[in-house]
């Protein structure tokens, strides 16, 4: 007698042509389907019966799914109304729900006292997560004076419900006359601040005085720990010594800070040195960004270090987060950047200008649609990513999305699916039916 098998209301099947994925929303599990398992699930989702001629392997797959509460057998075909957690409604042009602003980035200066070879050459380079660093798009871009003062700007940002103000540049320490009022205003509005800087341009004592009032932390951009490598990266000899002195002072005063390792041209050794120096306890506060010459990518350069540092598949931490990921890019969502040129963009790694703050200010700039379009998932992922069945467990940097040609190698190096290989196996695959693989994820690069 034929029976039918359908996936559960809260189990989503994403077909990626050559393989598929099952997202167990409440269970937080992600299963990869290949070969016979994929073909079988496809047939079942088309309401084709599981007849008496079903193979033992097929029955084992379906039993496995049933026992994991990912599907059910029934005597009749069924329509399965997949679970949603909110009304699928969008009020016509009225933006009923306020945008969930998370982070505002403000590049308060173009000025920098370093001479990093790959900085300010966005057209000739490819970068990954440069938004976490002091990298500039265009070192020759003129800086425009904004029409409102620092305090008013901070007040506007705070009124949006932003949870973090990220100050970057160039080197914000060189714009002290702007930085101090911004920090003081942010304190008044109880808006946390992170200042991204290489730490140069100001004495250690001056930096500590700024931080002492609380509410602000440094994100120190480092180029490595080998003096020669650092000098090659940033063009100055004494930078590393200054940074180490600053770190020591912060550590002595128990002031928390972040570090972002900016790797130029893929220098794997410096990444390892930084990870060793800071140790496992720094896992959440040590990040990395990379910037490469486009030509080097075209010439086939690959970052072996990046291959190890790639973002892993990240399981969703809540049901809400799962549904969020269906529609929004976790990287861009909720963020905007006020450039040193007065332009509104999504982040430092993306070039599209959404508005000019000189014309009507921040509120006016945020009333357009461009920024919010870049918050959505699809516009900010590459064609390859959109076709991948694992895309909802992945958080690619959208700065790579538009560069599928030049950045293909770099993007591939950052692709968790690539890391799984062509014949992925779970640690205990003898227990898995053929073609059904529960993907084991890790939280991130070992630190």
């Amino acid at each position: 007698m034929s029976r039918f098998f359908r996936l559960a209301t809260d189990c989503f099947f994403v077909d990626g042509a050559r393989e598929g994925a099952l997202y167990d929303v409440h269970g937080g599990r992600l299963l990869l389907l290949q070969g016979p398992a994929l073909a079988l699930v496809r047939r079942c989702e088309r309401n084709e019966p599981v007849g008496d001629d079903a193979t033992e392997a097929e029955l084992r797959i379906l039993a496995e799914l049933r026992d994991r509460d990912l599907g059910f057998f029934d005597d009749d075909p069924a329509f399965v109304d997949k679970m949603l957690i909110r009304q699928p409604i969008e009020w016509l042009g009225m933006a009923m729900a306020p945008p969930a602003f998370k982070k505002a980035t403000w590049a308060i200066t173009q000025a920098c006292d370093l001479h990093c070879a790959l900085c300010g050459r966005a057209e000739e380079t490819v970068s990954w997560q440069s938004c976490q660093t002091c990298l500039r798009r265009d070192r020759d871009m003129p800086q425009r004076r904004l029409p409102v003062g620092a305090t008013q700007r901070v007040e506007e940002i705070a009124a949006l419900g932003v949870r973090l103000l990220h100050i970057r540049g160039g080197n914000p320490l060189l714009a002290w006359e702007v930085l101090v009022p911004v920090v003081e205003a942010a304190r008044r509005f109880e808006l946390p601040v992170v200042v991204t800087t290489p730490g140069t341009g100001r004495g250690v004592d001056g930096i500590l005085d700024l931080l002492r009032g609380g509410g602000v932390e440094l994100n120190l951009v480092m180029f490595g720990l080998d003096p020669a490598a650092v000098e090659q990266a940033c063009g100055h000899k004494e930078v590393l010594a200054h940074q180490l002195a600053l770190i020591a002072a912060l550590a002595e005063l128990e002031m928390p800070f972040y570090v972002t390792g900016l790797l130029m041209g893929g220098v794997p050794a410096e990444r390892q040195r930084l990870e060793s120096f800071f140790g496992a306890a720094w896992r959440d506060r040590l990040g990395f960004a990379e910037v490469y010459e486009r030509q080097a990518i075209q010439d086939g350069m690959r970052s072996r270090d990046a291959a190890e540092a790639m973002p892993r598949l990240t399981p969703w931490s809540s049901v809400e987060e799962f549904y969020f990921r269906l529609h929004y890019n976790p990287c861009t969502f909720g963020n905007f950047e006020i450039g040193a040129d007065g332009a509104l963009r999504s982040c430092a790694g993306l070039s599209a200008v959404h508005a000019d703050l000189q014309e009507g200010g921040l509120q006016r700039a945020l009333s357009g649609d461009g920024l919010y379009e870049e918050w959505r998932r699809d516009p900010m992922t590459s064609a390859a990513c959109r076709a991948c069945c694992l895309r909802y467990a992945c958080s690619p940097c959208p700065a790579l999305a538009g560069r599928t040609d030049e950045g293909a190698a770099l993007q591939a190096a950052h692709c968790p699916r690539t890391a799984l290989g062509t014949e992925p196996r779970s640690p205990d695959d003898a227990q898995q039916p053929a073609g059904l693989l529960e993907i084991v994820t890790v939280a991130g690069p070992a630190g």
């Binding site: 359908r6 559960a8 209301t9 989503f12 099947f13 994403v14 929303v25 409440h26 269970g27 937080g28 039993a63 049933r66 026992d67 509460d69 059910f72 057998f73 029934d74 005597d75 009749d76 075909p77 069924a78 329509f79 399965v80 109304d81 997949k82 679970m83 949603l84 957690i85 909110r86 009304q87 699928p88 409604i89 969008e90 009020w91 016509l92 042009g93 009225m94 933006a95 009923m96 729900a97 306020p98 945008p99 602003f101 009124a159 949006l160 419900g161 809540s318 049901v319 809400e320 269906l326 921040l362 509120q363 006016r364 700039a365 945020l366 009333s367 357009g368 649609d369 919010y372």
Partner: protein, 520 residues
């Protein structure tokens, strides 16, 4: 994995819980269960039903022993796990009674809530009209309603209303730069007060550029070239009352001399299309009304056959049945006739959706809306107004309708006997809102916790206005539950045959998301 946070705490089956589900059967004969706790629809069968019944009665061990001879053990265990999973995550299927109506909020809290959520202001620009439609809300047909007068809103009152409203919603604007608010230009017939229409539109553009989305509801007879130019200039969406072809429309929509209005409307539509084709295509909409004498199938054919003339239909509503003797003129045969016609339209709509064929906008509005609304039902994470649990109603203040003299009502559909404020007295009176809400909660909502279709409920204050305030209407809730069950069955029946069926349609207030989960 933590479930979605929601208002009702999950609980095990216990006395004091009410099952809040609806079981429906699709056209193919398959059963489904709608759960009002989560808003989910589950494929259903006898085994699951017995598992849920056992859970609800606390007799799971006994029941499962009985089932062992009838079903494979693995299936019984799977059904048990299914029920337990949804019960543990969300307290699905059963709603705990007794603690669902929080205390009435103080006025200050209501004010905060309204200022956070209000989304539309309506200006009743005039109580006058150049027509005498037989079912008019301002006529003797509705004795509780306000009556037609010659009063018109002044430009000053209109500006004051706008200023008041902008101040009211200021907390939203700071945190939502994209937020726009509805500005509805209403009447009577608003084109009879065009000087004030122009004045308020100019005022909004000058003082609050881009803040409002204006829409005008009109009988379409007085859309002179100059009037239309003003509406085009300010990008006003235009909802025109068109009940059908001339003989149908002119049956009920007449002027003071008893003359039909259809020809005037048709002339205006042709001219607008000729002179402002983009505006005609993008901003004009039809509103239609029908009663038991309407040949709705002929009207649908008329709309289907004349898309070149008729703007897309967005709302098709029956003549309002509450507080009127309108339908006393009709017989049971009339009722049967209209029911048959509606059934045939419904059937054609469903067939078209199953086959992926196009449907007219009138068909979508009269037959499709009720089905498509299933897709738009509220889900587990959609919050309700805490003061109006389980109700589909707005909170008074979510919309405000300002009358010609500055009196503020909660919307244009209410009969006007329960105003909530006045421009001259500080605007919304939040103590009055509290009184209105409390009366509504006490008299109308007390039984809602046991309702299995609260996430579909569209009943609001306007439905429950009675001779002495708000009152429950006998049979209305039961009819609503039955209607929702029917809609659920229709919805599921379509999707069983065509999982890709396109329910997308537009109204002046909502559009389905472009891509739903994995449906594209």
């Amino acid at each position: 994995m933590t479930p979605v946070s929601h208002e009702t705490a999950p609980s095990r089956a216990s006395s004091g819980s009410t099952r809040v589900t609806v079981t429906v059967r699709s056209a193919s004969g398959r059963d489904y269960l709608y759960d009002d706790i989560t808003g989910s629809i589950f494929p259903w069968n006898k085994l699951r039903e017995q598992a849920l019944a056992a859970e609800a009665s606390g007799t799971t061990d006994h029941v499962y022993r009985q089932l062992e001879g009838k079903y494979p053990v693995a299936d019984i265990e799977a059904a048990h796990r299914f029920i337990r999973k949804w019960r543990d995550l969300y307290g699905a299927f059963l709603r705990v009674q007794g603690n669902d109506m929080p205390a009435s909020p103080p006025a200050e809290e209501l004010e905060r809530e309204i200022r956070k959520k209000s989304f539309q202001i309506l200006l009743i620009l005039t109580e006058d009209c150049n027509l005498r439609c037989k079912y008019c809300a301002l006529s003797e047909v509705y004795p509780y309603n306000r009556a037609r007068t010659k009063r018109r809103m002044s430009a000053e009152t209109a500006r004051r209303a706008i200023d008041y409203y902008v101040a009211l919603v200021e907390p939203q604007r700071a945190g939502n730069p994209r937020k726009r608010f509805g500005l509805s230009l209403y009447g009577g017939e608003p084109t009879m007060n065009m000087p004030v229409v122009r004045s308020v539109l100019d005022y909004c553009r000058g003082r609050y550029p881009g803040l409002f989305q204006p829409v005008m509801t009109t009988n379409g007879t007085a859309l002179t070239p100059r009037t239309v130019e003003a509406l085009v200039e300010h990008d006003v969406s235009l909802a025109i009352s068109i009940d059908g072809p001339a003989h149908e429309h002119d049956r009920l929509r007449l002027d003071a001399h008893g003359r039909g209005s259809w020809e005037r409307i048709a002339r205006n539509l042709r001219r607008i299309k000729r002179e402002h084709p983009a505006y005609w295509a993008n901003r004009l909409m039809s509103l239609s009304v029908y009663d038991w004498a309407t040949d709705v199938e002929a009207v649908e054919a008329f709309f289907a056959e004349h898309p070149e003339l008729l703007p897309r239909s967005i709302f098709v509503n029956p003549v309002k049945a509450e507080n009127t003797s309108w339908y006393d003129r009709y017989t049971a045969a009339d009722r049967q006739r209209i029911a048959g016609a509606m059934q045939r339209l419904r059937s054609r709509y469903m067939t078209a959706k199953i086959k992926g064929e196009a449907t007219s906008s009138y068909m979508d509005a009269i037959a499709g809306t009720r089905i498509a609304m299933v897709q738009l039902r509220r889900r587990i994470a959609d919050s309700r107004h805490p003061y109006l649990p389980f109700s589909g109603s707005c909170l008074p203040g979510d919309k405000i309708a300002v009358r010609v003299d500055g009196t503020i009502d909660m919307c244009e559909r209410v009969d006007g006997r329960h105003p909530i404020g006045h421009l001259d007295h500080g605007g919304i009176d939040y103590h009055r809102v509290r009184e209105v809400v409390e009366e509504y909660r006490t008299r109308v909502l007390s039984g809602c916790a046991g309702c299995p279709v609260t996430r579909h409920c569209g009943l609001c204050f306007a439905f429950f206005e009675g001779a002495s305030g708000y009152e429950q209407r006998s049979g209305l809730c039961e009819a609503t539950v039955a209607d929702v069950a029917s809609r659920l069955a229709d919805y599921i029946s379509i999707l069983e045959q065509n999982p890709r069926a396109d329910f997308r349609f537009e109204t002046d207030t909502m559009r389905l998301e472009e891509s739903l989960l994995f449906g594209c």
